[in-house]
């Protein structure tokens, strides 16, 4: 069953001056537990598409259905709550909160969602151990390596048990070893928690590990390949 479905989604920037069609009629669906990479050259619309299905931006045309609910009709406040409850984000630049420790960065989202202290403690420990950064739990982001920061960012994205994780070029700033470790861990989470994970990337190492590859060009899907199929 499709967790996410985009139906003829368009996104045009500056429609009244110099229109830029970032996404041009994408229709695609993602099932629960998918491990998908959206690939394509820079400017092909990968990040914009992730933003659209992640509720960060609204399409200029078309629908984005999450569990059959059209999120493009939600108000800004509803969108914010929707993101908090349903989506985990991983950014290229990690974007951890600098004044919080690794532990607090992960616990932060759960606190917003009013999880109990006990649940937070158990979940954060589990995630930081899974991401192999438990020993760094009291350290602030500026003392962590890039790989460690990105693993904490993934732990943060998973903290609230989201329906899916959107990772925008998460390995772009990582070396091979860190990339390999991160992908192993995300695979593990994908399999153990059945979390849908969608990457945007042009990293070959991510493409190799993805079970589905969607290739974009000029805002359109030019190839949709299920590797196991």
């Amino acid at each position: 069953m499709a967790v996410i479905e985009s139906i003829d989604v368009h996104k045009t920037y500056n429609p009244e001056t110099i229109p830029v069609r970032a996404v041009d009629g994408i229709s695609v669906s993602f099932d629960a537990g998918e491990f998908t990479a959206i690939v394509g050259p820079s400017g092909c619309g990968k990040t914009t598409f992730l933003n659209l299905i992640g509720g960060l931006e609204k399409p200029t045309q078309g629908k984005v259905l999450i569990d059959e609910k059209d999120i493009s009709k939600l108000s800004i406040r509803e969108m914010t709550d929707y993101r908090l409850h349903n989506i985990g984000f991983v950014f290229q630049a990690y974007n951890l909160i600098p004044v919080m420790s690794a532990y607090e960065n992960v616990a932060f989202i759960m606190q917003l969602l009013k999880f109990t202290k006990k649940d937070i403690a158990e979940r954060v420990e589990y995630l930081l151990r899974t991401m192999s950064v438990w020993d760094k739990r009291d350290e602030r982001p500026n003392t962590l390596s890039g790989g460690q920061q990105q693993r904490v960012a993934v732990a943060r994205a998973l903290a609230s048990k989201p329906k899916f994780i959107l990772a925008d070029e998460p390995t772009a700033n990582l070396d091979s070893k860190s990339t390999g470790t991160l992908l192993d861990l995300m695979h593990h989470i994908n399999e153990t928690e059945n979390t849908t994970i969608i990457f945007s990337t042009h990293d070959d190492r991510v493409m190799e590990r993805a079970r589905r590859l969607i290739q974009l060009d000029d805002g359109k899907i030019v190839k949709d390949e299920h590797k196991g199929a």
Binding site: R83, N95, P98, V99
Partner: protein, 409 residues
Amino acid sequence: MKQTLIFAWRNLWRNKRRTLITISSIVFAVIIASFMRGMQLGSYDKMLNDAIKSTTGHLSIMDKDFWESKTLINSLEYTVELDSLIASDPSLSIRAPQISSGCLASSGRNTRGVLIMGVDPEVEDQRSGLKGKIVEGAYLSEEGSGVVIGGMLAKYLHLKVGDSLVVLGQGYMGMTAAAELEVTGIFDHPMSMIDKRFIYVNLNTARDLFFMEGRLTSVDLVLKDYNDLDVTMDKYISALDTTVYDVRSWKSMNKVLLQQIESDNFFGIIIIGILYLVIGFGIFGTVLMMVMERKREFSVMMALGLRPGRLVRIVLAETIMMGMIGALIGLALSFPVIYYFHLNPIPITGENAEFYREFNLEPILEVAIKPVSLFWQFLIVLILSIVAAIGPVNSISKFNFVSIIRGRE
């Protein structure tokens, strides 16, 4: 809430130098403002104590026509009812019955217009500390007809203790009031008007001189707590027959002083306002920087599902913390300074001292300790912090966080 406060506290110290500079500017402003305000309020207290307490009192009860026409015909009969009303009032610290009338005082070839003040010696000492100002001879006594005069008057009339002076004026019902009185004491009063023009006698001497048996020109009242002025005045107005008596506050009896206090207070507040305005812009700049340099961080937090309102609360908490720290340190540092100068008033010398004396004021600068005023400094900084934060925090909700995260802004 706790999480917001912890978060805000840590954010505050991300840029220690900037935070410390901003806090220092607040501390500086609070110290200056507290001290300036303390001096202002101290000088008003001084005016109320010197000029009011020792001349008109906070309130004065007199005949309804006396204020307009200060002749002894318009004196009041000091009835038992009036005496018991005043005597039983617990809000009063001093009840000063008096007979005052203008006369000519003469000695040898010199004559000067003076004000004869018939007073209760003990009460007068309470209200003006006159006994302590005696530099030659002795203070007034309940009995006898001796007078005490100021050093400047004594010098003008070439009088010393033991000499006599002649007073000539008009008594009650137009009778001639004349007497030769012995100078028993000479005082040195900081208020030049009193030093030059006042002759103090006891009430009995004044009654005899002016034929005022059972009568007074006024009863001056000094309150224990100045804040009770309006309430006490209303109380006397309702208790007394206003077709016979007039109850006046010092504000109507000394309008020049009142205007002086009001205008000084106004300009003092304007100066403190300008000082705080400058500091307010400093706080504004700091908060603006705090928000702008964290645009990306805030954008990520919003992307993760944090409502802008929560971010606004965090930044507001940071600003309020900064303001509170500055205000509390400022108050803590200013208090010892204010306390020192409260105990050790600054003497004024030279021409400025003369200026003070012309206004019947003792030439010293006192600094008042007013907890309410200090609390106001704290509150002003707090409000200033919130107001300074409004613009920057308002911009948070207008962030295009997607563009910011993607590095387009």
